[in-house]
Symmetry: none
DNA sequence: CATGAATGAGGCTTCATTCAT
DNA sequence: AATGAATGAAGCCTCATTCAT
């Protein structure tokens, strides 16, 4: 990796280390989403990441743990995309709309992340603990919804339930889009956001 | 199959055969949902179903095929639960409401079926072909939604998309309920159904 | 099997029994020669012979024994073809020639028998005992060679060795012919017979 | 490979690797020839070769491929023994004699190689491709025979057929010798070589 | 006699993980 | 830190044989 010379003068040792760790995580994400967990052996991850099999175990104690860490990274990544809270000067509905699109855009343009989350949302490999630990990345959305309820803009409903319902809608539409069973037009997206809004607002 | 009760007690041979096949399917469903696909060996299925390992292969050519057939059965089962279309004399909204509750009740009281569908909705093990083959069980719902749109009661939206969105909402709430992260009251259910209705109806 | 009515008025029961036994042996021969022993399951033999799996075990105690009996039958069959000793009035060389062609013709027109013998000549499944038991079918040839040696027509050489060498030559040419690596003309056959003769006769 | 003795004792790593591969091949040869293919499980090969079951799969992708590679090695080994062409100053007949004895000696003193070739000459496990690939090791013999024909010393006959016939004779006599059905004296060998010679030479 | 569902030992192979270098 | 050969438990599946009908 001689072409890394113009990166900031950080510990090149650490840099290399991080490169390898990242290569492993990226390769894992790619392979898991396309092949599934049980069809992706560590040896293949090693090969395609360009490291030795044993090397993976310097960074991750086990395959299961590799998944946990990857899950945490993906969740954090999406959380970051969501957190781009629009200006507070906009109307509440507009901010709702933008949150919704942020998440939609992120998942649509990061298919691997999307499928990985779909896969591991139901996998026994990801433990409740991992799920809980990642919840904090979505606090900004929960807060936003709680604020809407408090202001009397949204229905009286648990913000967690509300967030889950909206999350479900976004993922539903992306699933249809990716699976290709349905061609999704901009109008359809707008309809669904409007539907989401109608679902949660005070009528 | 409510018309099975008065069939004569025919062919105990066939009965035994069906019992074994059923025992395998039931055991598989139970184990897969609690342990996941790759953590459930055929040997365990055999043991807990009370048959020899080889016996499974009289009924199912491979583990993968066992999953396909189980998927088809579960889908058919849920389709049957849904198909109990309420009287046509009710208002459209009431019928919508009942469809919703039919599915909700079915999944809530058949947790294994629910988790199995969640698992295999995203598994590479279930092929697009299997999914397509099972779609026909839901035709009655699609028809119902299409009818609502045509009558000007529901928004102009693809009935498939609409069905997927509602399906997503029902599953979201059950997920929360089962995971126990959220205590779901009857009022919450009513709120969500109302939300679903608000999402799709002409405002 | 209603079309068996005009066979001699033998015990039709026995007839049916023999039919089944024969069907099993014939099917086994066909499958073994084309697939090999370990690639031919009893279940396939049963299916293609038109009997139930268990039925085979009424006629043959085990797969191994089925092979032994088939081996004995094939050996006897070829022995019978050989035994058509030409008239004693011919010259010795002519009789030699005819023995040679009898065997050649038999094997060439009964490819399955040929391959079966090739296969089981070296298989640990056929025991020395089986081989010994079948040797008697070739006594007429051994006697013929011994006679030639005694008369001073053939070299002083063990008749068994001599028979084995000739047998080897016939099988070699058929192997080349069947494998198709070499197109065998009548002249080549004649050459090889002449070679065989030159090999054993007093020069 | 007589020029191996003076190579330096390089790379003990590579040495160890080759040792393991060799141990597997040697053990396989020994077990297959005494038990047959389908009676020799990979687990036994591993145990008797002193490696773990999985280790075999580092060197050979499958049992079938292990056989192919072993076949190629044995063929090459025998080809090397044959290739020790006697001096060109000897008479043609003497050179013929020595070729014959080279092969005879090799097979007689390498019984396992002999049986392995006998076994796999007729096994569906060895594919035509493997056979073809190994043919080149025998080119020197074919050339020698072709030369004899061209010089008018041997009959007009396809050199391939001629080689196959001689090969058959050598194997026939070794089979008798090993099977122990016949005690083979030096005189008998000489008789058979003479017979071979009489078979192919111009009379 | 015949059937064929059922058995379960055992075969081939995979793969997460270790460890000597 | 990195390597990758080696391990061996465990998985899926086959198949000769049995036995209740």
């Amino acid at each position: 990796m001689p072409n890394k010379r113009n990166t900031p003068p950080r510990d090149p040792q650490l840099q290399a280390v991080q490169d390898k760790r990242k290569a492993i995580l990226d390769t894992t994400l790619r392979l898991i989403t396309s092949q599934g967990y049980h069809a992706t052996p560590m040896s293949q991850i090693a090969r395609e990441a360009g490291v030795a099999a044993g090397t993976i175990y310097h960074y991750f104690p086990s395959k299961e743990d590799l998944m946990s860490q990857l899950y945490a990274e993906v969740k954090a990544r999406m959380g970051a995309a969501l957190a781009e809270d629009p200006s507070h000067e906009m109307s509440y509905k507009m901010r709702f709309w933008i949150f919704w699109r942020n998440m939609y855009n992120y998942l649509k343009h990061n298919e691997n992340d999307f499928w990985f989350l779909e896969l591991f949302a139901v996998s026994p490999i990801i433990k409740a603990e991992d799920v809980r630990a990642s919840a904090r990345h979505y606090q900004s959305v929960i807060d936003f919804l709680a604020f809407g309820i408090q202001k009397g803009i949204l229905r009286e409903m648990s913000p967690n339930l509300m967030a889950a319902l909206i999350d479900g809608q976004i993922k539903t539409i992306i699933r249809l889009e990716i699976a290709g069973h349905e061609t999704i037009t901009d109008k359809m997206i707008a309809d669904v956001i409007q539907g989401s809004w109608d679902m949660v607002r005070i009528n």
